[in-house]
């Protein structure tokens, strides 16, 4: 009986430190899921929150409206869909970013990229096709005139 209580105690302490570490890593209280480097998952994954993948994911990722990061140690064999996609690790599959896809230095992507904005850092490896869709001229003009106004004052 005593033993069990003791165990519960130590477990809660462990939990507290674990969450502290997460707080440090994120630097904010905003909710984000983290798939750590030793985590290996095979199957279907869906989420409606920011997601950082440092581990291995194989299968399908249905992730929309939010940000997805494949970290340096992340290995993904799946099609990815999110608002912002940042890739630092390896991805095998199509990457769809509703707003932006960023391939960081050291990243390796085999697949197609679909996004209106793409950033590729020096040192990124990419093999595939890029489709940016049609440019929205109204948006570009509106932005330009706003810039002119701020420059004029």
């Amino acid at each position: 009986m005593f033993k069990k209580n003791e165990q519960t105690e130590t477990s809660s302490v462990r939990l507290a430190t674990t969450e502290d570490k997460i707080g440090l890593v994120k630097g904010s209280s905003r909710s984000a899921s983290v798939i750590g480097p030793t985590l290996v998952f095979k199957g279907e994954l869906s989420a409606d929150e920011d997601l950082i993948i440092e581990g291995t994911v194989e299968g399908t990722i249905a992730h929309q409206q939010k940000n997805l990061t494949v970290g340096k140690q992340g290995r993904v064999k799946a099609h990815i869909h999110a608002k912002h996609v940042r890739i630092e690790g390896a991805v095998e599959g199509d990457v769809r970013g509703d707003e932006l896809v960023l391939l960081a230095r050291g990243s390796n992507v085999s697949g197609n990229i679909f996004s209106p904005r793409i950033q590729m850092e020096d040192g990124a490896t990419f093999n595939g096709k890029v489709e940016m869709g049609k440019r929205q001229p109204e948006l570009a003009v509106a932005k330009d005139s706003a810039m002119d106004r701020s420059a004029g004052t």
Partner: protein, 104 residues
Amino acid sequence: MEPGTQAHRGDAELPCLETDEGASAAVRPSVLGPTLVLRGELSIGEDLVIQGEIHGNVVGTDTVVIKRGARVSGQISATRIQFEQGTRLDEVVLTGSIARTSGD
């Protein structure tokens, strides 16, 4: 974004995605948030916190914490399994040293 700005400007637009260079090598615990739904097989060699749904088998070498509001079905084996009141466990087989907590 203006043309010619540094590539790192992309980071500024994704503040929540910042990956701490220093912490990347350190053990980063895995947290499966409340909207995360996993169907499949999962194995992990570090602490795991489950707030969302997992349907399938989980094999962990460390502590698995099942938080309030989580839904789990399948087999979970880990060195330590801790679950809060209010978790929903459907046809779950837990293997390991188990602790139940009342949460916050």
